[in-house]
């Protein structure tokens, strides 16, 4: 048992090391985004459109349910005037980036991992290398850069929709004055709350792209392997996002 536990820990560290190396290679080759600019635009279009509907629906319902949960409690304590600010803080700081990260992991991360995995098992990656193309420059760099570009846009949209949908519940159920909702948000929210959320979006985007590309490029054993690497990519990305989110919140908002 100890042997397999030790092997598993070593394997995880080895994988972490390989993901880190891939991340460093991304920064080494990031300027090749300009060389493969058309591919970057294709990825922005493809990945952005793919995750737009899921992000919109998720963010609307998160705003609705969060507002629904706090409206009654705040009414009991006569703190209705704070609801807009609380919804805004929660969504801009945490819920928007975090849940958009999860949605994008599931939608884009799985798409990237399965696409690269299929390319690996059908020898397309070897074909690229055989034709003197570096798969990291050609496949990884445009994808990660595209996600880095898309994520803040999606998170910004999710934040806005979540906040506005929270407004509808607050005004319809708790009869809160619309002005009070927006005023409390203006008083409680600071510009850095929004900027911090967007910083989180960029970090989560990088993690999604990096981990998904890594597992795609390291797919083994045919179509079964594609399924395994896709699942692993999504699970690892989501876990990473939650862990990194805690530390980012600590760094960004505790001072």
């Amino acid at each position: 048992m100890f042997h397999s536990l030790g092997y598993s820990i070593l394997f995880q560290f080895n994988e972490l090391g390989q993901i880190t190396i891939l991340g460093l290679k991304y920064f080494k080759y990031v300027f090749f985004t300009f060389k493969f600019f058309q591919r970057f635009i294709e990825q922005v279009y493809e990945l952005g459109i793919k995750s737009l509907s899921a992000t919109v629906i998720t963010s609307i319902f998160i705003g609705l349910v969060f507002s629904l949960q706090i409206v009654r409690e705040f009414s009991r304590f006569g703190a209705n005037y704070m609801i807009g600010g609380i919804v805004g803080l929660a969504i801009w700081r945490e819920l928007g980036p975090l849940l958009t990260g999860v949605v994008v992991s599931a939608r884009i991360g799985s798409a990237i991992s399965s696409e690269l995995g299929s390319m690996k098992v059908t020898e397309q990656i070897d074909a690229l290398r055989a034709m003197s193309q570096n798969p990291i420059k050609y496949l990884v760099v445009p994808r990660i850069t595209a996600i880095l570009f898309i994520m803040p846009l999606l998170v910004g949209l999710a934040d806005f929709l979540g906040f506005v949908s929270g407004f509808f519940v607050a005004t319809a159920i708790a009869n809160i004055n619309p002005n009070a909702y927006f005023n409390s948000a203006i008083i409680m929210l600071e510009p850095f709350d929004i900027v911090g959320g967007l910083i989180k979006a960029v970090v989560f985007g990088f993690l999604i792209g990096l981990i998904s590309c890594f597992h795609g490029l390291n797919t083994k054993s045919g179509s079964k392997g594609v399924g395994k690497s896709t699942t692993k990519a999504v699970v690892q990305t989501i876990v990473c996002i939650f862990v990194v989110n805690y530390f980012l919140s600590y760094i960004l908002y505790q001072n």
């Binding site: 390319m119 020898e123 397309q124 070897d126 074909a127 290398r129 055989a130 034709m131 003197s132």
Partner: protein, 246 residues
């Protein structure tokens, strides 16, 4: 001239290639045969530098690729064209984009008109004229092999590598592909190395045939001598009876 000298390669601590020595002269068509998993495709990947040997040297026209810088190594790879077993066409690109890929993604002096002309020539050579705008998924297995062949030859390589070029194709398509391989290798005067275990392919396209047995290439045979070979391993392979699951 392509030389493989004392090549050794292990996978997961198992010796796949124990001591491979091979010399191929320009214009020669050689075939490497052997059972599944014996390391035939590994030899092609080693030649192209897709994987590295554990020891030994590969020389092509006097150049040792291990001593090249990254940019020089990318230049070195342009001398080779590889037809993959699975064709390995890019799903997201059309036929003409696939064929033009080695030209469009590498610095060269060709404009779009010249690239399109070369694509059309390559398509004509593999008898797939007019298929420019199709997607790989719209093509049959044999047609995909032809397109992959067109992509492999568009840069006029000095060495063509074929990995199981006729596996999974029906006899008519196999014959077409075999004829195409011989014709193209002759027209381009290239070194051609084919890895296969299809007897029909072996007999139709080979000048010399090497049997890879237990990580070592046996002495070469010709298409005439291999059919009457006294080596029991080769006899068993050619006339049936090798248990490929071993």
């Amino acid at each position: 001239m392509l030389e493989l000298i004392n090549i050794k390669k292990q996978f997961n601590q198992v010796d796949i290639l124990k001591n491979v020595n091979l010399t191929v002269n320009p214009g020669e068509n050689i075939t490497i045969i052997g059972t599944s998993g014996s390391g035939k495709s590994t030899i092609l990947k080693l030649i192209l530098g897709l994987i590295e040997q554990d020891s030994g040297t590969i020389m092509f026209n006097g150049v040792n690729p291990e001593k090249l810088s990254t940019s020089q190594f990318y230049e070195y790879r342009k001398y080779f064209g590889l037809l993959f077993q699975s064709s390995a066409l890019f799903d997201s690109l059309t036929v003409e984009e696939n064929i033009a890929f080695p030209l469009t993604e590498q610095p060269n002096n060709l404009n779009n008109f010249e690239i399109n002309k070369k694509v059309d020539e390559a398509l004509e050579l593999v008898e797939m004229k007019g298929a420019n705008l199709k997607n790989p998924s719209e093509l049959s297995g044999g047609q995909q092999k032809r397109i992959a062949l067109a992509r492999a030859i568009i840069t006029k390589p000095k060495c063509l590598l074929f990995d199981e070029p006729t596996t999974g194709l029906d006899p008519v398509l196999s014959t077409n592909i075999e004829d195409l391989i011989v014709r193209i290798a002759t027209e381009l005067n290239t070194i051609s190395i084919t890895v296969t275990h299809q007897i029909s392919t072996i007999l139709r396209i080979s000048d010399l045939i090497y049997f890879l047995n237990d990580g070592i290439l046996l002495a070469p045979e010709t298409t005439q001598t291999i059919m009457v070979s006294k080596n029991p391993i080769i006899r068993s392979f050619i006339h049936g009876g090798i248990d490929e699951t071993k």
